[in-house]
């Protein structure tokens, strides 16, 4: 009799620990969102390398837990919490930047440096979202973290939100990655709206040859200039240019391969899964998250708008034959290489023999530098 009652009590106690006993509507909604991400990644091939870790991380992070079991991502000392420190303390994003540097070819930019300015113009999106967030009642630090979504750079968004608004990391990073995946949907209408058919047909001059010496000088000089002006951007800029030097030096092939290959993959897995886990229903399903998504979308529109517009303005000062095709303006928003691909696809719609991809890679990688610089500035002013 005693055995039976103890057994029943144990079963009853165990039941209290299960997910079924602690589940809420929020958990179910977040698990469904996570599964939608996984579906989109597998079925639609939308940013699968990011959406699968983030989507499944959302499922992991939203399994209802009995508090105090030291398994949740926000519980000190849990395994997930330890992995999450890379996001929270910001050491995953610079490692991703190392990989980006080691896989990026800056030749298009070096051969046509004026494309750097297009990358700068597209950063207006960041500050439009910043002003919008302030108007909606966010604190300046939160607004800075939200604004960086407009940089269309996931690691930068995670890095900055980890420093300025850790509570919003989940919403900001999911928003940034979602819109990066939606670049082919968001950007073309803005590009078409701002350009005439004649402008879309502009053929740009073939990029000149870039010597290895120039490719080696670029990361060194690029880092020195940007880091001296914005020292707060050193973690991102330093790793980006260091990775690129590994690639271009020609004598560190193994290191470059590790940086852009296994190391980058490991960090992408860790960053994706922990960011996904951090979207626990009680922290994610808030009015603030909806506003962040709205502001994120607005910042992408503004960034695309200013990038394309800036190309048109530059064209006013360029001679015939040297003009830029304004369709590459959208690529200034980073999101490497998706936004450059959008430029190319849009250009080919109007002239199948016009290949814009290489030209669009210029503002695209300039956008990476520009958003890292912008993040450094925001960090310097607001942290």
């Amino acid at each position: 009799m005693i055995l039976e009652s103890n057994f029943a009590a144990n079963l009853n106690q165990f039941a209290q620990y299960t997910g079924f006993a602690n589940v809420t509507a929020g958990h179910i909604i977040m698990i469904l969102i996570g599964l939608v991400f996984v579906y989109l990644a597998i079925k639609k091939d939308w940013e699968p390398l990011l959406l699968i870790p983030i989507g499944f991380g959302m499922v992991i992070g939203n399994i209802p837990l009995f508090p105090g079991m030291q398994v949740g991502i926000y519980e000190d000392g849990s395994v997930l919490n330890i992995l999450y420190q890379g996001v929270r303390r910001g050491f995953y994003p610079p490692l991703i930047f190392l990989g980006i540097g080691a896989m990026t070819d800056f030749s298009a930019l070096i051969s046509n440096p004026k494309l750097l300015l297009v990358g700068a113009a597209a950063q207006f999106g960041i500050f439009a979202a910043y002003a919008g967030a302030l108007a909606l009642g966010f604190t300046p630090a939160e607004a800075g973290a939200i604004g960086i979504i407009g940089g269309a750079d996931g690691p930068t968004a995670i890095f900055l939100s980890g420093k300025l608004a850790p509570d919003l990391i989940g919403a900001i990073s999911v928003s940034a990655y979602s819109y990066m995946a939606l670049v082919p949907v968001i950007q073309p209408p803005v590009m078409r709206m701002l350009t005439s058919k004649k402008e879309r047909l502009i053929r740009m001059k073939a990029p000149r040859a870039v010597s290895q010496q120039e490719k080696i000088i670029f990361p060194i000089v690029g880092f020195l200039i940007t880091a001296f002006i914005v020292p707060s951007g050193i973690p991102l800029l330093g790793m980006l240019f260091f990775g690129n030097l590994l690639k271009e030096s020609g004598v560190t092939r193994r290191l470059a391969e590790t940086a852009r290959g296994p190391l980058n993959d490991i960090v992408v897995i860790l960053i994706g899964i922990t960011v996904g886990c951090s979207t626990q229903a009680d922290k994610f399903l808030q009015g603030k998250s909806v506003l962040i998504f709205v502001l994120g979308a607005a910042s992408f529109f503004v960034a695309t708008f200013t990038g394309v517009l800036f190309c048109k303005i530059i064209n006013l000062f360029l001679k015939e034959g040297n003009k830029l095709n304004p369709l590459i303006g959208n690529a200034g928003v980073s999101a490497v290489p998706d936004s450059a691909r959008v430029s190319h696809v849009q250009g080919q719609k109007y002239d199948p023999s016009n290949f814009l991809l290489m030209h669009a890679m210029g503002p695209n990688v300039a956008g990476v530098i520009g958003s890292a610089v912008a993040a450094g500035i925001l960090l310097g002013f607001l942290s």
């Binding site: 440096p113 500050f127 300046p140 000088i217 500035i377």
Partner: protein, 330 residues
């Protein structure tokens, strides 16, 4: 390449204001309390004046062997004891020494008191290099300390600096006429001297720029500045590269006397193409692909590497394709 490297080094030297490693020069006399009537007690429960040192660096500094003195003519008056880890000051932390004139009472007890002391000097372990000095106002009130309003900030004597540069430093630091030092209302041994609530940068920005316009303009200006400088630098580097390439091309053209074989020599007697012709075509293709005769392609290393594909189902990993088939007896 050498010239560019030299330019970078010289530019860095020109724009650098003074580079100090994290070292003794990072230690400051941060706060002193000459007359301690009702303040903190030492490890023996007794009250005496105290001196607080602050490590301004972002790394640890060991102050063992440093000298403190109230007399510039006797710079080695009191040596901070060696051989104890307690003399290591962690980054942005403090060390308090009791100025009771009784060095045998504990590790951090100086052999002089602060009664009537108007100057306090901190010397490096060589006993010659002055690291910092402060001038304590005469007639200091009881239980009031004198020190830096903000930890580690304000006028100090960096190594090798003259009095003139010291004055300049105090002006550059925007520390005001008092040099950033003042009588502090609330003594704070081993704690920060800033006792007032400090506005965060975010709060300051909210007051200064509620709509975000100023920050947006500032930040965009800086982003453009960075990228315009990069543009200018790489524009000039690109021009230089183009010039060099043109010179190289010209030199190649001048040095090469291209001997065009006669039609009769293109083919050998048996009708095959002459080997020299094949070699000439190969060289021409090589020069073309390496950008010497054309600017269409990047200059590549030209090294071809075959990596073994480790996939099991590839030809490289397939035993059936790489091993000889065993003879089958029919």
């Amino acid at each position: 390449m050498k010239r560019i490297f030299s330019i970078i080094v010289v530019s860095l030297l020109l724009i650098s204001k003074g580079v100090f490693a994290q070292s003794p020069v990072d230690i400051r006399i941060n706060e002193v309390l000459p007359y301690n009537i009702s303040g903190v007690t030492d490890e023996n429960g007794e009250r005496c004046g105290w001196i607080e040192l602050f490590n301004t660096a972002y790394g640890m500094v060991d102050v063992a062997g440093f000298y403190l003195t109230d007399n510039k003519d006797n710079p080695t008056k009191y040596m901070i004891p060696k051989g104890n880890n307690a003399t290591i000051i962690p980054l942005r932390k403090y060390l308090v020494l009791y100025a009771d004139g009784q060095p045998n009472k504990g590790l951090f007890h100086t052999n002089f008191t602060l009664n009537g002391v108007t100057h306090l000097y901190l010397y490096d372990s060589d006993g010659k290099t002055l690291l910092d000095e402060i001038e304590i106002p005469a007639n200091m009130p009881e239980d009031k300390s004198f020190g830096r309003v903000k930890d580690g900030e304000g006028v100090h004597v960096p190594v090798g600096w003259s009095k003139r540069s010291l004055r300049k430093n105090s002006i550059d630091s925007k520390v005001g006429a008092d040099g950033g030092l003042a009588i502090l209302e609330h003594p704070t041994p081993a704690l920060t001297n800033t006792t007032k609530a400090v506005q965060s940068k975010s709060e300051i920005m909210k007051d200064m720029d509620p709509y975000g316009v100023i920050l947006a303009l500032t930040a965009m200006s800086v982003v453009f500045l960075c990228l315009v400088i990069l543009y200018t630098v790489f524009k000039s580097i690109g021009k230089r590269a183009l010039r060099k390439e043109a010179e190289k091309r010209e030199a190649v053209k001048e040095s090469k006397v291209v001997k065009i074989p006669s039609v009769a020599n293109i083919k050998t007697a048996d009708g095959a193409i002459n080997e020299e012709v094949i070699a000439a075509i190969a060289i021409a293709c090589h020069l073309y692909s390496n950008g010497i005769d054309s600017s269409v392609h990047d200059v590549e290393s030209g090294v071809l590497t075959f990596n073994r594909d480790i996939l099991n189902n590839s030809a490289w990993g397939s035993k059936s394709l790489t091993l000889k088939e065993e003879p089958i007896i029919k």
